[in-house]
Symmetry: C2
Subunit: 199 residues, 2 copies
Amino acid sequence: MARDANPIEHLIDLMARLPGLGPRSARRAVLHLIRKRAILLAPLAKAMADVAERARECLNCGNVGTSDICPICADEGRANGLLCVVEEVADLWAMERGGTFKGRYHVLGGTLSALDGVGPEDLRIPQLLQRIGAEGVTEVILALNATIDGQTTAHYIADQLEDRGVQLSSLAQGVPIGGELDYLDDGTITAALNARKRL
Amino acid sequence: MARDANPIEHLIDLMARLPGLGPRSARRAVLHLIRKRAILLAPLAKAMADVAERARECLNCGNVGTSDICPICADEGRANGLLCVVEEVADLWAMERGGTFKGRYHVLGGTLSALDGVGPEDLRIPQLLQRIGAEGVTEVILALNATIDGQTTAHYIADQLEDRGVQLSSLAQGVPIGGELDYLDDGTITAALNARKRL
């Protein structure tokens, strides 16, 4: 065998465990890395070691960064009473790419799921309730995914916040920008129709 | 911004340069890595550093490994006069996964291409001609891809070897095992028909 128990084979095995890569694409990636050893493989090894050492969760909101309190939570300009609740860090990053939201975030770390035995205590829901008082939050935007679990979680949080005197909202549902009706599912079209806007 | 000029952003940028990953899947991979820091990110950083330091091309055949002469070239049991010529290291690995070829390999490092200005000297063709005499090669299997450039390169090598007294062969073309006729291109069907076997 060309690659028995050697470092290259080991690297391929590890790479194949990344989401979106399988054994075949991991081999392709590793050969590419070896070809670009100086400009890609070595810097990547260093960047990974760096992140492995420094990455941490924000103690306040659950965002991933390199400090105990993330730059968004540390930014006093964003303490404007708006709090956007998302499922995962990836959703927070997606919202930030939008670039229009100027409040703070709260990352739940998943959704409630009776099937998988995920209860409120397994998510960052107690911390959410605590923050609402402590940070003077006036509006909570529930930016959870439009899935069954996401909407179940949104309803649970809405129930918990019912008598806390905060405004609750959720993201609008409808046709995506650039979306073609023919490719949309029926649920989205129904939602867009029900929420139609007068011109 | 949540990730301005920080190590996580830097890692995402590098990951997005891997084949098969784009900015979105790189972000997903990095979040996955951070969640699995101890069992995946740290080992991966170490494995990459290890490969960056130790990987080298076999001086004889061009295979990638961790020694100057790869295990296949070093294996005297494989000095049986059979030499399989492939375009890339990935092709060599694919042949080895097949597990039936017990000769040695020669990795060209690409194909001849007038368009891209790739001539015989840019590939490992001179080394191939040198090996045929030095290693007592009796049969050369041209396992190049069934593309225009691959076949052009195969013809060029066949020309070079015409009076060297070695048997030349190429891989059979036909229907892949498990392949369905309906999904095959016309060229493959024609090739399979022309090379049909009596039962």
